[in-house]
């Protein structure tokens, strides 16, 4: 909770202002029944309009003043809640940005979303309406009780006799409400995972024509959920009527007991009016008590869930004292590198004691069967993951000592699975573009072989892709992703099987266009198309996380080892593709 107070402290002045206004507004409100009492008594005493006009004028003034002050009190306090919600969400987002890829492999997107959306909302409810009612209720009670007691102590006790009952009911039902609404929430979650499962397996449902069964099953689950909802409704529907009956009992006491006192001449009709007025004013804060309890509980639980997220230390960060080198040559070295997924104690090593030098400006191909560690190797270079043992060096410096932003700007990785944001193609490509005099986006889309595709789209570069736009084919997505990295003009360019969905001749064409670009930088190609690999300066063959063979195409082929095997298989594939 201390983190929460930190946020609250930022807005303490406005919050204090809001609370001051709230106290002022409520004080004004609470004075009104007392004034009505005087008016009624004056009327009872036979005063005409002239007699009561001054007090009524005062009441009207108070009403207007109260309206103005209350407006301020409410929006000032609620706005602070919104401001803190805003800060909290920004901080969470910034924190998420610092967490490494490994974190996202373990967490479900839905869970993170619900923290940033639902939990932040629950905290905001605690701060806005929560604070308001927390302050308001005691003020109402303080004024109400003291004024009522000063009029008639016994009548006060009688009129409020129902309130302890109300409190008891609220307290009892809030526990029941909590329990039953948990059931409803669980039921809803079960319903949605049921629908989720059904839709994911809809092909099987259709294949066995078991739609009717699925509907029956769902209907049964739905009925259970409906019952849970009704159980909740039975309790929830109780609170409102109990509160109005408590108010009614209060009025009854005032009517009966108060009326009797009026007959005895010990109480005025004005006093009765005042009493009924105060009973009315106290009804809402009393009802709000139970509600506040649940808001408090929910808010605290949610803040804990947020703190849990904040407590996760970013594993891969820029070192504090890192200085960016003036230039990047692009020489890469791996020294005794061992890497496991899931950290040092994780699964079998993806890379085991790998030593490798990639000279600056060369084109290197990495080949190997599925699972041999190719992707793991290239992920270490821009520090998507860190090694478990050994060192990865760029221009002779451990990558962990370089500023992260600088490293990633200079090491451009085109990943296997293309990911596009639902924005325009221009934005997707220009994401990290390095302005270099010419138009980097225009150049990159041409280099990535997208120019023809774009010509077919009426809006060209301004075409929106993804969920809110058109769906691109797998090959198109890969080429947009390639263009994105090309536009950033990194010194080290890594293509991690990045053109696998692009047909062979288009790949050829793209690589030809990029020849000059490759010549000026270190290029690492993870590929399985033999034509791509063949021309590399150096070919690295990985097998089960180790470097099995290194050499150029001719040497490796002559050696008759793993590379030669792969070459044979792939030649067949190429032949097939060509048929």
């Amino acid at each position: 909770m201390s983190r929460l107070w930190g946020y609250v402290a930022r807005y303490r002045l406005r919050l204090a202002g809001g609370i001051a206004c709230l106290i002022g507004a409520t004080s004004l409100t609470m004075s009104v029944p007392l004034l009505f009492k005087r008016v009624v008594n004056e009327i009872g005493a036979g005063q005409g309009m002239a007699g009561v006009a001054p007090i009524l004028g005062l009441i009207a003034l108070i009403a207007v003043a109260q309206g103005v002050v209350r407006t301020f009190s409410r929006f000032m306090i609620f706005n602070v809640g919104r401001d803190i919600e805003y800060d909290l969400r920004n901080d969470l987002f910034a924190h998420l940005e610092r967490l490494p890829v490994a974190f996202y492999q373990e967490r479900r997107t839905g869970d993170l979303m619900s923290r940033l959306v639902n939990d932040v909302t629950a905290v905001r409810m605690l701060l806005g309406p929560g604070i308001l009612n927390f302050i308001n209720t005691p003020i109402y009670y303080a004024y109400g009780l003291s004024i009522m007691l000063s009029i008639d102590a016994r009548l006060t006790v009688g009129a409020l006799a129902g309130y302890p009952l109300a409190l008891y009911v609220v307290k009892r039902t809030s526990a029941m409400l909590m329990e039953r609404s948990t059931h409803v929430q669980e039921g809803l979650a079960e319903l949605s995972s049921r629908v989720q499962e059904n839709l994911s397996g809809i092909h099987v449902v259709k294949a066995y024509a078991s739609e009717d069964h699925e509907i029956r099953d769902f209907a049964a689950l739905n009925a259970t959920f409906r019952e849970a909802s009704l159980r909740l409704a039975r309790v929830r529907g109780f609170v409102g009527p109990v509160m109005s009956v408590v108010g009614g009992i209060g009025t009854l006491v005032v009517l009966w007991y108060g009326g009797w006192h009026v007959i005895q001449g010990r109480l005025s009709v004005g006093d009765m009016v005042a009493f009924i007025g105060y009973l009315n004013l106290l009804a809402w804060p009393t009802m709000a008590l139970g509600w506040m309890l649940s808001v408090l509980q929910r808010g605290r639980a949610s803040m804990n869930r947020l703190n849990e997220l904040f407590a996760i230390e970013p594993a891969i960060t820029s070192p504090h004292d890192a200085t960016a080198p003036a230039t990047c040559r692009g020489e890469i070295e791996l020294r005794g590198v061992t890497f496991r997924h899931g950290g040092p104690l994780g699964t079998a090593a993806a890379l085991e004691n790998v030593d490798l030098v990639i000279p600056a400006g060369r084109t290197v191909a990495i080949v190997g069967r599925t699972g041999s560690g190719k992707t793991s190797l290239v992920h270490l270079l821009p520090r998507l993951f860190d090694v478990d043992a050994g060192t990865v060096l760029l221009d002779g410096r451990d990558v962990r000592t370089l500023p992260l932003g600088w490293l990633r700007k200079n090491v451009g990785l085109v990943p296997q699975d293309p990911f596009l944001f639902s924005r325009t193609i221009r934005e997707n490509v220009g994401f990290a573009a390095t302005p270099n005099g010419v138009d980097p986006v225009g150049w990159a889309v041409t280099a990535a072989g997208l120019d023809r595709d774009l010509a077919d789209m009426p809006r060209g570069l301004e075409t929106v892709v993804g969920e809110r736009g058109i769906t691109l084919s797998g090959g198109q997505k890969q080429r947009v992703t390639l263009a994105r990295v090309l536009a950033s003009a990194p010194r080290v360019l890594i293509l991690d099987d990045a053109l696998s969905s692009v047909d062979a001749s288009t790949e050829r064409e793209i690589l030809d266009r990029l020849r000059d670009f490759f010549d000026q930088r270190t290029t690492i190609l993870v590929a399985h198309r033999i034509t791509t690999v063949k021309e590399a300066d150096l070919i690295v063959v990985l097998e089960q996380g180790r470097v099995a063979e290194v050499g150029d195409h001719g040497t490796l082929l002559a050696k008759g080892g793993l590379y030669a095997d792969l070459f044979r298989e792939q030649s067949l594939e190429v032949e097939l593709e060509a048929v």
């Binding site: 987002f93 959306v117 409704a233 009966w256 009924i276």
Partner: protein, 595 residues
Amino acid sequence: MSDEAQVEGKAYDARLLARLWTFVLPYRRGFWMAFLLAVVNLAFALAQPLLLGRAVNVAVGGDFARLSFWGFTFLAIVVGEFVSNYWQQYLTMVVAQESLADLRVAVFARLQRFPMRFFDENPVGKVVSRVTTDVDVLTEMFSAGAMTIALDVMKLAGTVGAMLWLDWQLALVSLVMMPVLVFAIDYFRRMARHTYRAIRERIGRINGYLQESISGMSVIALSAYEARAFEEFRALNADHRDANHLSNKLEAALFAMVEAVSTVSVAAMLLWAARQHAADALTLGVVVTFISYLQQFFVPIRDFSAKYAVMQSSMTAAERIFGLLDLELEPQPTTPHVPAVVRGEIVFEHVWFAYRGEDWVLRDMSFHIAAGERVAVVGATGSGKTTLIKLLDRLYEVQRGRILVDGVDVREWDVAALRRRIAVVLQDVFLFSGPVIDNITMGHPDITREQVEAAARHVNAETFIRRVGGLDAHLRERGSNLSGGQRQLLAFARALVHQPAVLVLDEATSSVDPETEWLVQDALEKLMAGRTSVIIAHRLSTIENADRILVMHKGELREQGTHRALLAQNGIYAKLYRLQYAAGEGPAARVAAPT
């Protein structure tokens, strides 16, 4: 189905409410009962200030007996109000829950009959929220929206009526502030319509942005885009906050204004009352009654903003739900073909198919599979093998040409009859959480437990089923407590128990342990016996044992014949054979990876 894009922010749409009403109709007795109780409740609520006034008058007159009489009456009314109030709220919720449960089932049932294309185009998460979240929003409309607003209007009218009846002059004076209030509420409503809509749109944008950035965080990291992404997020977040600041101001002003107007109205009333009372034209009791009425009068108006927001989001939710209900279902022929016996003869006649536009996945496919024939389909990744299966089961419609089963176009078949006679077993076996037996029968009640046991035994699944706890044991989601081989066997049992005429199988590539492998092979052999089988083959034994092999390449049928004949031909098949079956496991797994 776009979420917030086309929403106009209406809080009231007669067309949508009329459609919702069709779901309430079966529970109309409960609905009208609740309505009746609401009227009774209203009468009780209106009676209380009246009684209070009477009591004040008798108290002023010093008549204790009469005071007691009014006291008892008041007590009775308080109790009556409690009862009617509770039952009205409860019945409303019953009607809401019952009718919305029906709506939920209607949406779900509808979903089951949508064509596969729908599921290709719409992410599961979005569709799920139509059935859950959106329907839930409508529940709120019952409890805090439409019904409440109707009752509020009645309450306001009732109060005005009672006051007019008591003393029309005093009533008119009491309502002197009403024009101001009406003007204010109308202003609020117009402002709120845009503001609330903006809030919902903006939170939608925040959620969309979050969803996307969380999924694409590695791209953000690799592009060193963190600072700018943060700036973009912050801007969206700020937009949302600003819209909320505005709505806070509006709501605060409305809330405070209603309270002020209420007090001023009482003051105005008292001013006139003083004159009338001094002239002996008004009792003190009526004054007290009026004070009480006026205090009741303004409460519903004060809470207007919350109800408005509920109505607005309900209309949006209803719009989306009905939008879904209005989508077209899988086509079903007018006189569906339901034969008594299915032989299992399959003919493709010049079939062309594309998932999108003219990106042909199958081009001019023609072949004939005789009943009882065993056919293997081979081809590289992307050659269209999986699509073939989907078309056979009529999960998609062909664009050109036709597919005949037993000489009848699949479009003329009853969809369910066709699918039940064609058993499809995919590589990635989909299991549902729930009992093992349900995963085998797929819920068909005509399949007996004995049949299930026999089928399980026949396909060698009996032993492991017993080991996991028998047919009634629960499987976890996706059957994650079973091994790959076990899932295969279960899928075989599922296929067998439906006694299909045609078995369509996408053979698993992932190698299982030798023992299970033997069980799978043996089971497959039994499963194929005596029926037409079409198998996307990944195992050497399968192609060698096939009566005929169809070789698919780039969406076309390029070669067909027996294993030996095709090898001798030394064409595509020969290459594929060397690549996938003769060159070891590694590349085979890759080349034939599921598409």
